[in-house]
């Protein structure tokens, strides 16, 4: 329970910033990340977003690095393949394994660096959003888009009761474990199937009970959400626009220099 991303998002001071502003920043970062071909610039995005998440969002740095490492492992493995088997151009260096010669080309090398940088910047953008916008904030954003109300209401109820049933499931699992329900493979399967069927029945009952309690508070078929009005602060506008200007200007400068 302690390490859910949503938990950190709820505690983040950035939670109270305008959600659309955050979306704009993230979209900018993502678009720039996939369109730019300069790894330096893309890394710059990653650094800026990570700084915003960790420093402005007060996310523990160890937790954040742990989060980033997971996609990074995949990206590194992919780029090793790219490094050796892709591209043409000048040979940068080569190694020989078991008599066969593996060489790395300039183009392959660039490609590998680009893949890694895009992965990191993309992930850091998404984590910025995920670690600053908890589900409850997201609901009010979704509401202003034109998604049908029943869908939003359902997802609100699901969000709330996921935690209730998570608790129920954990308690049942514990109760089964202390009575040796998971002592071997066969009994694990049996216990797990019992857990799942009980959970299904429980959630059915919970639905009935919740409906009853909603009814006793004059439920008339619609759930209204509070309109979270989060005005954009001047300081946020200045910071965001200077970030955009800085990124665009530097990327032009780098282009200019390399030409």
């Amino acid at each position: 329970m302690k390490n859910l991303i949503d938990d950190y998002a709820l505690m983040s001071p950035l939670r109270y910033s305008n959600n659309w502003l955050k979306l704009v920043i993230v979209t900018f970062g993502l678009l720039f990340g996939v369109s730019s071909t300069s790894p330096i610039m893309i890394f710059m995005i990653a650094i800026c977003m990570s700084f915003a998440t960790v420093y402005l969002g007060k996310i523990p740095i160890r937790f954040y690095i742990g989060l980033l490492l997971t996609p990074l492992v995949f990206a590194v493995m992919g780029s090793i393949v790219i490094l050796f088997f892709f591209g043409s151009g000048n040979e940068v260096f080569s190694i020989s394994i078991l008599g066969s010669n593996l060489s790395v080309n300039r183009e392959g090398f660039n490609m590998a660096v680009l893949v890694i940088s895009r992965t990191i910047s993309g992930m850091s953008c998404l984590f910025f959003l995920a670690l600053s916008t908890p589900m409850v904030e997201l609901f009010s954003v979704i509401k202003t888009s034109r998604i049908p109300d029943p869908l939003i209401e359902l997802s609100m109820l699901m969000y709330r009761y996921i935690f209730v049933f998570l608790d129920v499931a954990m308690n049942i699992k514990y109760a089964q474990t202390v009575r040796l329900g998971y002592k071997d493979f066969l009994s694990s399967i049996r216990s797990m199937s019992m857990l799942l069927s009980t959970l299904f029945i429980r959630s059915w009952e919970q639905g009935e009970k919740t409906y009853l309690s909603m009814n006793s508070r004059c439920y008339d078929g619609k759930l209204t959400m509070s309109n979270t009005n989060r005005p954009v602060k001047i300081s946020e506008v200045i910071l965001t626009s200077s970030y955009f200007v800085f990124i665009i200007a530097t990327s032009h400068f780098i282009n200019y220099v390399s030409i």
Partner: protein, 445 residues
Amino acid sequence: MNILETKDLTYSYPDGTLAVDGINIEIEKGKKIAFIGQNGSGKSTLFLLLNGTLKPNSGEILLNGIPFRYNAKSLREIRKKIGIVFQNSDDQIFAPTVYDDVAFGPRNLEFQTEEVRNSVNSTLGYMGLTKFKDKPPHYLSGGQKKKVAIAGVVAMEPDVIILDEPLSNLDPVGADEVVDLLNEFNHLGKTIIISTHDVDLASTWADVIYVINRGQIRASGHPRSIFSDRTLIEQSKLRLPTIVETYREFEARGIAEGHVPMTILDLVDSMEGPITDVRCAVADCPLQKGQKVGLIMREGTIFAVADIQNHVSGRTVSDAAPGNEVLVEDVKGSLISITGTIKVLQIPRVIEGGSKQVNLERISGIMSGFDRVGAMGTSAKVTSKKAGIHLNFEVDVIQSAMLSALRGFNCLVLASGGMADLVMERVSERNKSNNRQIQCSIEKI
């Protein structure tokens, strides 16, 4: 005026179980009602009937003298006037944030946006939940969830609040807080109905108790009359409150006499008459076995001193060093001769400005000269916190203050709004039935 009344109410579930069997109740406005009975006795079903969720097979329910009708419009009116808090808070709290959950009822009553915001914010503030406003409910503890559930109902401003087992699964502090809130609502004129199998709670809290068993009302009345009837309690598969059991044992040994007590204060009062001739005291100086000693009461503890002038006197049973406890026999005279006083400071209620209206320095000035301080009501508690006052009692304040006064302490009680008058009322009520009088005064601040 009966706010809620039932006539021969009967309900059986589709599977044929007769859950409510010809129940007649009359509930007066502004009272605290407790339904007690074992599990499965029909309490919860009765509550669902009273809220219009279930429709009775026969009989009728009257709200303010008007029979329930089961069309959408009438049901809406009924549910607006009669709020129900379910036993399991998770059944009731369904919204992703505390704010949205509390706002659910007011929105359904089609309050304007501004009204919804005001009513939710004031309810949350009143119940001390403002800091959880934007949190999802799964972050809250059991007691906090229960408070949110209550807030969700209170925000609809009902006249009657029904709570099914309000204290189940709560820790002692959480339970005390909930009881305190219920008393506060009651004081604001709301009728509170609870179900419980906690006889200790029912006996001390309720004005009227209904004993329910197998879908029928076995008895109703003041807690004292209910718990004096041992056969009734046994037949209804309940037990006597600890206080009553204790009293019965004391009575059998000739230590206590009088009415059957419901509270600790009652019990203490019932023991005033006979004084036992053996007392336990703390030695004030080195004492020898068989020495004549005087007994004095200091800060609520009995001390044995060498000086026997003008004191209750006795003889020690053993040697004792200063600070050790010693048994004193052949005690002559009444020990507790000085009764403390109670002073009530009336703090404005939250809607009247609460602690902001209070000159904190003045309170600190008044504080000196009092041995014990208590606070009742939200604004009084906030005020004492702001003034940095250490509170000796926060729950069951009136009784605790009277008990301390009987032990010779001077007590100061900070009370919100009309609760101050309640203190005066309760003290004078007690003074009527007892010859040891407690002086009580009130001051507005």
